[in-house]
Subunit: 254 residues, 2 copies
């Protein structure tokens, strides 16, 4: 991908436009391209790959190149590409998320869905998340985002593939390096915290804890737990090709 | 999977508990097991694999084995398994959805996410959808759901795999058979319909059309368009293993 003009970069997230993570990302990448932010007006975490079909969407232009919307991260990317931007971006970056997006969380993540939507629209895309929910320091993650953005702009990505980047929550000098990882198969054991409201009605809060698994050395979770940046290539074709023949046998053997 | 007791079957959907599709499904499968419905209290379409973290969830018991919740399909399955049911279900069925869930729609689908959640919780799971949005007749789809439910109960499914079933919207005598398919790569070209509200403010409706692709003979969309039932095995590990080595090279060649 060699071009003379500046690369066009679209930023989105799921923590909302005023989150510190997307601000840090913007500062880090604005020097390497023409950068536009199109992000939700407030938090849209754990929305999965949701899009808004039953409600109208609104767009609010906050600055020349900065827009908030009433939609999800996927809506933001669709709106940017199909309604706001004059030209298709060369790269979509979603993040920097407050909290890791590893293992099955990838399936629930609004941050990842912003990048997935970029890929569906044919644009090289990546999601970037910081491995902590408390006292986040985005300095290193933002520097890393800039570096990998330059790499993706230079090398490109195969059609249908996005990068899911997770950065450990340690200072730069403590980061051990980069690991190319797979999505962990580690499970959560959910609990529902059952409570009674002041009117005597029962309600539930979702909570839970992670279970450790054996043989997870090459996984996204283990990489950041050990102090490495984790890069996982993800696809959008959920077909389990290996099982197609097996189900055909069900129908043959009847 | 041979057992003496009746199989325990959990039903959910994304069209909401009062939708005709889940009622037809319930009637079709109640004779083959102990069936419980835990479904959203109203429509939750295109929610992707969303879960509710920022709001409390409420559960309303409508009958001995029928519950509505204020959550998404994924929330419903989590609530059923972790808070409502005394024992883990043997099978989760999500549907019957009004409208197909094929191609990239799989990533946006609340119906599929109900089954995905079942798989994450270690339960054999399937999603079933009817290939029309207008004048739905669930008769054949419900019969087919019963048949494939019995097959999954008998044969089991590998860990991490769900079945995504799409039924063509034709009468039984016109159904040509069953095809084992892959997720179509067919794209939507979204348009945003830009309008002005009575107060002079601009808003957008998401709409769009499907583009046809070559070489889609073995895809989910083509199967139902040709009058076949489509069964696609889907996985929850989005890792693109084939690309892991390639990215490692990026770091070696620096």
């Amino acid at each position: 991908m060699i071009r003379k003009r500046k690369p066009r970069i679209l930023l989105t997230n799921d923590d909302g436009i005023s989150a510190a993570g997307i601000q840090a990302l913007y500062k880090a990448v604005k020097g390497i391209g023409d950068v536009t932010i199109v992000a939700p007006d407030s938090e849209r975490s754990a929305v999965g790959h949701a899009i808004t079909l039953s409600d109208p969407l609104r767009v609010n232009q906050l600055d020349k190149n900065i827009y908030s919307t009433t939609g999800t991260p996927a809506d933001c990317v669709k709106l940017a590409v199909r309604a706001i931007l004059k030209q298709k971006p060369d790269l979509v970056i979603s993040g920097i998320n407050l909290g890791p997006n590893t293992g099955f969380s990838v399936l629930y993540s609004g941050t990842v869905s912003g990048a997935t939507e970029g890929v569906i629209l044919g644009i090289p895309s990546m999601a970037i998340s910081l491995g902590t929910f408390t006292k986040p320091d985005y300095t290193f993650a933002a520097q890393f985002a800039r570096k990998i953005a330059l790499m993706v702009i230079k090398k490109g990505l195969p059609k249908g593939i996005l990068l899911n980047v997770n950065v450990p929550a340690v200072v730069k000098s403590k980061v051990k390096g980069v690991k190319i990882t797979r999505q962990s198969k580690r499970a959560f054991i959910e609990k529902f915290d059952k409570r009674t409201d002041p009117h005597g009605r029962i309600y539930y809060w979702l909570s839970g804890e992670v279970i450790d698994l054996e043989g997870e050395q090459d996984s996204d979770i283990d990489a950041i737990n050990q102090g490495y940046v984790s890069i996982t290539p993800l696809h959008c074709d959920m077909t389990e090709y290996a099982m197609m023949e097996q189900i055909k046998e069900w129908y043959k053997s009847k």
